[in-house]
């Protein structure tokens, strides 16, 4: 509860900060929104329509009002009277209206989110599965060539930029060898889970490879640490089979740091997703963020930032709750 309140305060601060930074960048943001054939009149209208003529703080409070009760776009009553046909009602919680896309931010996010969520789910599944698996193998075979091979290979992959791996996979796996179909996003409703998954495999692998090295190392380090704990000796002294000692006792103890990492990485996934989605031309949140960025589309930027921020905060809360579940010492008496 306390954390949720702190989270909301943080989000408020984050949105205000974005407004302030946006308008203090020195770039003529109205010019961007105005379009190609920008006349001074059109420019004035655009500025009014976007509300950029108002002080920053007023824009921010208007935005907050929209989140709570909803808003009509364009906001200016004069413009509404002039051309009632373009007025769009944006119900609460309204995160704004993108002039560039002529859509509400909510609907833009709603279109893009499933793509990104699917991508993230498959990517997380891949990197956690293989990261933990390889990390475990490396820990058990510590010091052998298997260990060194795994750690080395993941580092090499980590060293390659994401766009390179993405293009590489696209070119060889999909186009040259045709092992997998050329990926394009298929919803589960359209093509079923199999189709959905297969199409996501390449972009998800691209995304996952970036994180894999970290998970291999963390798993390896924490399993090694817990293998040297006294309770592992106790488990062995009981006569437990080595496999059981490893999975039931050693891996369980390494779970806490892993969950923390997963939580934090999930929250920061948007950054990695931008490149991956661009390479594979997936219209997810990453691609949306990129477009909003280059066109100075403030409403979309704010919406995405708040979404990302909310996600980080939520992930932290979930991690804390999971902690208590994993580690009985954290549970409140």
């Amino acid at each position: 509860m306390r954390r949720a309140i702190i989270g909301i305060i943080l989000l408020l601060a984050l949105s205000l900060l974005t407004f302030v930074l946006f308008f203090s960048s020195g770039v003529d943001v109205t010019r961007f929104a105005c379009g190609k054939n920008c006349t001074p009149e059109k420019r004035a209208t655009t500025e009014k329509a976007l509300g950029y003529d108002k002080p920053t703080v007023v824009q921010w409070t208007d935005f907050l009002q929209g989140v709570v009760v909803g808003r009509d776009y364009p906001d200016d009553p004069e413009l509404q009277r002039e051309s009632p046909e373009i007025v769009t009602h944006c119900p609460a919680p309204c995160f704004g209206f993108s002039q560039v896309n002529a859509k509400t931010v909510n609907s833009l996010i709603a279109e893009a989110a499933p793509v990104s969520i699917s991508l993230a789910m498959v990517a997380v599944f891949l990197w956690v599965l293989f990261g933990v698996l390889f990390g475990l193998i490396a820990a058990v075979r510590k010091g052998t060539w298997i260990d060194r091979g795994i750690v080395g290979a993941t580092l090499v992959v980590y060293a390659f930029p994401t766009f390179f791996i993405g293009i590489f996979l696209l070119k060889y796996v999909a186009i040259k060898w045709q092992l997998l179909p050329f990926p394009q996003y298929v919803t589960i409703a359209d093509g079923g889970v199999g189709e959905w998954f297969v199409n996501l495999l390449l972009p998800a692998t691209t995304l996952a490879l970036f994180y894999l090295a970290g998970y291999v190392r963390i798993t390896r380090a924490f399993v090694l640490e817990s293998l040297s704990e006294d309770y592992i000796r106790t488990a062995t002294a009981k006569g437990l089979a080595p496999r059981k000692v490893l999975f039931k006792h050693a891996l369980r103890a390494a779970l806490t740091p892993l969950v923390t990492m997963i939580g934090l990485d999930l929250a920061s996934l948007l950054g990695g997703a931008i490149i991956t989605e661009t390479v594979f031309s997936y219209h997810g949140l990453g691609a949306l963020a990129l477009r909003a960025n280059v066109s100075y589309d403030l409403p979309v930027l704010i919406g995405l930032l708040l979404l990302a921020g909310a996600f980080v905060i939520l992930a932290n809360i979930v991690v804390d709750v999971l902690y208590a579940y994993i580690d009985p010492r954290v549970r409140l008496d």
Partner: protein, 349 residues
């Protein structure tokens, strides 16, 4: 002569390191019968814990080089397969560790960890194993065992955790129990409880016990036989009472005279053993204790610094073994050591 229940012969545990071989245990031999307790005394690095881990086969698949013979009921534990060794662990040979908090997995309940030890060696249901765990917790004196069985280790006090460890170790009725500093991490009154419990249970289970400790007081109360270790080797070995009343090795004297006492004369002096324990990588030539020994001038020539003395019968009995060049240790002890550490005893005589 019948074969002893446990017979350790010339046990060596060596660890190769980039700087050379660390001889943690270097030729240890002792025997132990059922229902009896041997106390292994020594300081950190003397090899006492390493030796007991070797009995449990805990050095398998590490870089340690283990050689010698560990005959338990006629079976050489160093020769049997991994799977056979695994079957013996926890069933025939069990172990209690020094720090019960770190020796228990923090994420599992005490009960499930005890029950696990039972289920490894018995094909029973979870429920039955848990009932057995409750029974054992009750046996080691945990109040309300049917409630406490679901507690996590951090919810137990230090003494209760060690009781739970004992319950875990004894749940399969092992014939050999290795207790590695079982009371060092505990308060004195709790230590007294645990020592009494161990003696009590040993009587009931007729187990052979190896008690590893640095505390001669614990040894004096618990052990039938005493083995004093220094730098990986036995330096004195024999019946407990004999070793403690008539030690013949200067290191044992040092141990006795460097420990203060709760009773007796307050004018008794504290005589430390000078210097530090030797490096196991490059032990001193000759007797490993010679750099710290204050009696080596009584040995003719440079015997102490050149020749490693054998573990041979001392002057008082055939079964009291010592590793020392001194010719008349009993006289030195009576005349020089005893008046320092037990002046009241000397006065009585």
């Amino acid at each position: 002569m019948t074969t002893p229940f446990l017979s350790v012969r010339d046990l060596k545990v060596h660890f190769p390191t980039p700087d050379g071989i660390v001889k943690a245990t270097d030729g240890l031999s002792f025997t132990l019968e059922k229902g009896k307790t041997i106390g292994i005394v020594g300081e950190s690095g003397s090899g006492k814990s390493v030796s007991s881990s070797a009995i449990l086969g805990l050095h398998r698949h590490t870089n340690a080089i283990v050689s010698g013979e560990i005959l338990l009921d006629g079976v050489d534990l160093l020769k049997i397969s991994d799977e056979d060794m695994r079957r013996k662990r926890g069933a025939d040979v069990a172990m209690i560790f020094q720090d019960p908090l770190s020796a228990m997995h923090p994420y599992y309940t005490v009960g499930s960890q005890i029950a696990e030890a039972y289920r490894v060696h018995h094909d029973v249901s979870r429920k039955k194993a848990k009932a057995r765990a409750v029974e054992m917790l009750d046996r080691v004196g945990i109040p309300q065992p049917d409630h406490r069985v679901d507690d996590y280790p951090h919810q137990f006090s230090g003494g209760m955790r060690q009781r739970a460890m004992i319950a875990m170790a004894l749940i399969n009725n092992p014939s050999l129990l290795i207790a590695d500093e079982p009371t060092t991490a505990l308060d004195v009154t709790v230590q007294a409880q645990i020592l009494d419990l161990l003696q009590d249970l040993q009587r009931d289970f007729d187990a052979a016990v190896i008690m590893i400790t640095h505390d001669l007081g614990v040894i004096a109360e618990m052990a039938d036989d005493v083995l004093v270790m220094y730098a990986g080797r036995a330096v004195e070995y024999g019946a407990g009472k004999e070793i403690l009343t008539h030690p013949e090795m200067p290191y044992t004297w040092g141990l006795l005279s460097s420990v203060p006492d709760v009773a007796g004369d307050t004018s008794a002096k504290l005589i430390p053993i000078p210097g530090n324990p030797p490096s196991l990588l490059t032990p001193p030539p000759g007797c490993a204790f010679n750099p710290r020994c204050t009696h080596k001038d009584k040995v003719p020539g440079d015997l102490c610094t050149t020749v490693l003395p054998d573990l041979v019968p001392g002057v008082r009995s055939e079964t009291h073994l010592k590793r020392c060049h001194l010719a008349n240790p009993d006289a030195i002890y009576e005349q020089e050591i005893l008046p320092e550490i037990l002046p009241e005893l000397v006065e009585e005589r």
